[in-house]
Symmetry: C2
C-alpha cells in the first residue's frame, strides 16, 4: 500500500469513524473517470467492471453538460412549478406498464424504499414485510431491516415486522417454475397473518441481483406474484440495480420475470451518480401514501436532478445501450463458459446483459463455495487493472456489472485478464 493511501485510511478513520468499508485489501485512490475507465492517483488506468451508478459512463459528457447548464440556470424545489420534473416523470413512466403512472422523486433508493414500505402500510393497513435472506435495499431505520444478513443491533424495534425467505439459488435448488419460491413466501404470509402482524408487502429485486442473480426462465415471478396478490399485499420491485436496461432484454427486469409490480423503486443509476431516487406506482397507491403523509423532499425532483436524469434516458436511447448490454452480455457468457471449460473452480456461469459472473466452488459435485479463493481473485484482478467484486450468500460469485457502454473489446480485456489470474493463483492460499 502506498504511503498516500495509508494517510488517507488514517484520515478516514479519524474523520469518518470506524467500520467504513473500502473495496480491496489494498484500496484504490481514484481521481479521474471517463466512460468505462478510472484512474488512480498514480496515473494507473483501471477498467471499471463494477460500477452501475455511472450507468451511461463515468463523467458522461451529456449528463455533465445537463447538470452544468441547469445548475447555472436554476436549482430549486417542487413547491414552485417547474416542467423538469413533469417531463422526466412523463418520459420515465412511458417506458412502463400503464399502471406505473405516478412518481415521487427522492434523493436515494433508500428514501424511495422507505416510501414504498409506507405505501404498503397505507394501502393494506398491515405491516408485515417479506424479503429474501440475502439482500440489501437501503439504509434508513426502516429499510435497513430488510437486510437479514446484517440485522442492525439498533433500529427502534422495527425488526418485528420483517420476515425472510430463502433466496433463490438456481445452482443448488431446482425451482424451474418458481413454485418453491412462491410457496416459501406463502408460508411467511400465513405466519404473519397468524401472529397478527398481517401481510403488507413482498420486496424483491426482480433479478435477485444481491442474491447472486440466479438463472431463471421468463415468467419465473408469476407464481409468487399470484400468491402476493391473493393475500392482498403489494409486490414491491426494487429495480435500483436491475433497471434501466441493465439485463439487456428489457428496460425493467420485472418485464422478463412476467410481472407488473404494484410499486417500483429506483435509485443508483437514475441520474448517473447525481443523487436521485424514485418510487413509481399507480395513482391510487400514491394517493393512499400522500393522504397518510404530507410528504415533501426538499431536494427531490429539483431541476438539476431532473435534467441529469433526462440526459441518462437520452443516452440510453440514442446509443442503444440496452441492445449493447444484450450483445456484450452474450459475448461475455460465451467467454465465461470457455473459462468454465478450462477451470474446474468455475461452478456456474450466470447473467444477462451487463450483469454477469461466475460462482466459484472448491468442488463441482458438492458445490462447496470457494469464498476465500474468490476474494483473492477479486484482489488479484484489482492489481491487474480490472475492478470487479463478489456477492451472493457465500460471497463466492464474481459480480461484474460495468457501466452500460461496456464493449466487446472491454469484455475481452476482462476475460483475458481473468484467464491469466485463474491460471496463476492457487486454489488454496
Amino acid at each position: 500500500m502506498t504511503h498516500g493511501n495509508v494517510q488517507l485510511l488514517n484520515d478516514r478513520a479519524r474523520l469518518m469513524g470506524p467500520n467504513v468499508a473500502t473495496f480491496y485489501d489494498d484500496p484504490v485512490h481514484i481521481v479521474k473517470g471517463e466512460g468505462v475507465w478510472l484512474w488512480d492517483a498514480d496515473g494507473r488506468k483501471y477498467l471499471d467492471c463494477y460500477n452501475n451508478v455511472p450507468h451511461v459512463g463515468h463523467c458522461n459528457p451529456r449528463v455533465v453538460e445537463a447538470i452544468c447548464e441547469q445548475a447555472g440556470t436554476l436549482n430549486t424545489h417542487t413547491r414552485y412549478l417547474h416542467d423538469g420534473i413533469l417531463s422526466y416523470i412523463e418520459r420515465l413512466t412511458s417506458t412502463m406498464d400503464e399502471t406505473l403512472n405516478t412518481a415521487i422523486l427522492t434523493c436515494t433508493g433508500s428514501e424511495a424504499n422507505d416510501i414504498a414500505l409506507r405505501m404498503a402500510e397505507a394501502v393494506t393497513g398491515k405491516r408485515g414485510v417479506i424479503a429474501t435472506d440475502a439482500t440489501y435495499h437501503g439504509n434508513t431505520s426502516l429499510v435497513s431491516q430488510l437486510s437479514k444478513s446484517n440485522i442492525p443491533s439498533v433500529g427502534f424495534g422495527l425488526g418485528r415486522y420483517f420476515r425472510f425467505v430463502e433466496a433463490p439459488d438456481s445452482f443448488r435448488v431446482t425451482d424451474v417454475d418458481g413454485a418453491i419460491f412462491a410457496a416459501s413466501v406463502a408460508k411467511q404470509i400465513e405466519e404473519l397473518e397468524e401472529d397478527g402482524t398481517g401481510f403488507a408487502a413482498l420486496v424483491i429485486c426482480p433479478y435477485f441481483l444481491n442474491e447472486g442473480f440466479p438463472s431463471h426462465p421468463e415468467g419465473w415471478l408469476k407464481p409468487v406474484a399470484s400468491v402476493v396478490k391473493k393475500a392482498g399485499g403489494l409486490l414491491i420491485c426494487d429495480e435500483v440495480q436491475s433497471g434501466f436496461g441493465r439485463t439487456g432484454s428489457h428496460m425493467w427486469a420485472h418485464e422478463r420475470a412476467g410481472v407488473v409490480p404494484d410499486v417500483m423503486v429506483l435509485g443508483k443509476p437514475m441520474a448517473n451518480g447525481h443523487p436521485v431516487g424514485g418510487v413509481i406506482a399507480d395513482a391510487e397507491i400514491v394517493k393512499a401514501f400522500r393522504e397518510g403523509y404530507r410528504y415533501f423532499n426538499t431536494f427531490g425532483g429539483n431541476p438539476v436532478s431532473c435534467a441529469a436524469a433526462i440526459a441518462v434516458l437520452d443516452e440510453i436511447d440514442d446509443n442503444d445501450l440496452v441492445a449493447n448490454a444484450r450483445t456484450v452480455g452474450r459475448h461475455a457468457l460465451v467467454r465465461m463458459d470457455a473459462l468454465a471449460e478450462k477451470y474446474d473452480v468455475i461452478g456456474d456461469v450466470r447473467g444477462d446483459g451487463l450483469i454477469f459472473g461466475a460462482e466459484m466452488v472448491l468442488n463441482r459435485i458438492t458445490k462447496q463455495p470457494a469464498s476465500e479463493f474468490t476474494d483473492r481473485v477479486v484482489n488479484a484482478m484489482r492489481h491487474r487493472g480490472i475492478l470487479l467484486s463478489k456477492l451472493g450468500r457465500y460471497k463466492n460469485t464474481l459480480k461484474i456489472r460495468p457501466p452500460m457502454p461496456f464493449s466487446i473489446e472491454n469484455a475481452d480485456q476482462l476475460f483475458d485478464t481473468l484467464d491469466s489470474v485463474l491460471s496463476e493463483i492457487p486454489l488454496r492460499p
Copy 2:
C-alpha cells in the same frame, strides 16, 4: 392564474399524485435564478426572501463551477479513497467544538436525522425521543414522527417512541432563562422512564426556527441541556436551517444558545441545493452507531457533493457572509420595528441575522393570531414580486429567510413593499 400554470398543476396532479403542496394561491413557475433573484416563465423578476437552500445565492458561480469541474472529472462513492470528503469534513468540523469531530455524510437532512436518532438508541440503549410540538425534522418513517403537527396515519407504529413538549413562545410565555422549557422536557423524560420506554434524545433546532424563532437571550438552552445530560440522553441539534451563519452572530446557532450538542444534523444549505446532508458527533458516538449498523450511503460524500459543499464554505468565508447576515439582519429589525410602530397588526418583531419576521395579531392585548391576514399578506407580496412565507404554531409569523448575500438594498425593497401591502390590504377580508 395563467393558462400555462393551470396546465402544469394538472400535470402535477396526474404525474406526482394528490396533496403535493405548492406555495401561494397562485403558484409561481420559476425558470431562472441568480443571487437573491428569481424569474418566472413570463420574465417577471422576484426578490427571494424565503429560500435558504441556495445559501450563497441562486446559481452561485463558484458552486456551479465546482460542481461542473468535479462532475466532469470523477463522481464515485466512498468505497474508493478520495480526498474530497476528508478535506470537507476536516474543514467543516474545524468550525465546531472539538467534540464535534467525526461526520457521516448523507444526501438529505432527513437521512441525517434518521442516523442521529439511531445514534441515540445505540448510545443509550433506549428509544424515547422528545421534540417540540410545532416542528419538522424530515421525512423518513422514523424522522417524520417528530412532526406532531402532522402525525402520519401510517408509520410502522413508531409513534410510540415520541413525546412532545410545548414549543417555546417568547411572545406569550415569559421564560427568560429557559427554566420552563427545561422543566417541560424533564417531565417528558420522567414519563418516558416511568412507562419503560426510556429516554434516548431531545431533538431541537437550537433557534426553534419552525416554531417561529422565539427571542431568547444567550445561553437559553443551558438548563435543558443539563436536564438531558443528567438523564443520560443525547442532545441532538438539527441545524439544517439555523446553521452556516444564518443567525449572523455565530456559525452555528447552538453556540449562542450556550450548548454543545452531542449530535449535530445538517442539510439544506450545505451544498447550495446539491443534495447533501450530514451528521456530526464525537468519534465515540459515531463508533456506537457504526458498530450497530454497517451503514453505507452510495451517493453520500461523493466527490461532486463534497466539491459543492467546500465551495459553499469558501463563499461564506471570502464574502464575510456571516457578518453580512448580522449587518443586514440588524437593519431589517430596525425597518420592521418602524412598521410595528405604524401597524397595530404587527404584534412582535423577532429574528437574528437573515432569519427574521413579525408575528401578526388581531389584537395586541389578547395576542389573537391574525393567521388568515398573514396568509393574504404573503400572497399579496408574491404578486408584488417579493417571495416570503409564514410559519409558527398559528401560521401567523412572517418567515423571511433569504439567501445569505441579501443586502441592505434588498431589505429596503422588501420593507417598502411590505409597508405598501400592509397599508392597502384590510385586516379582515
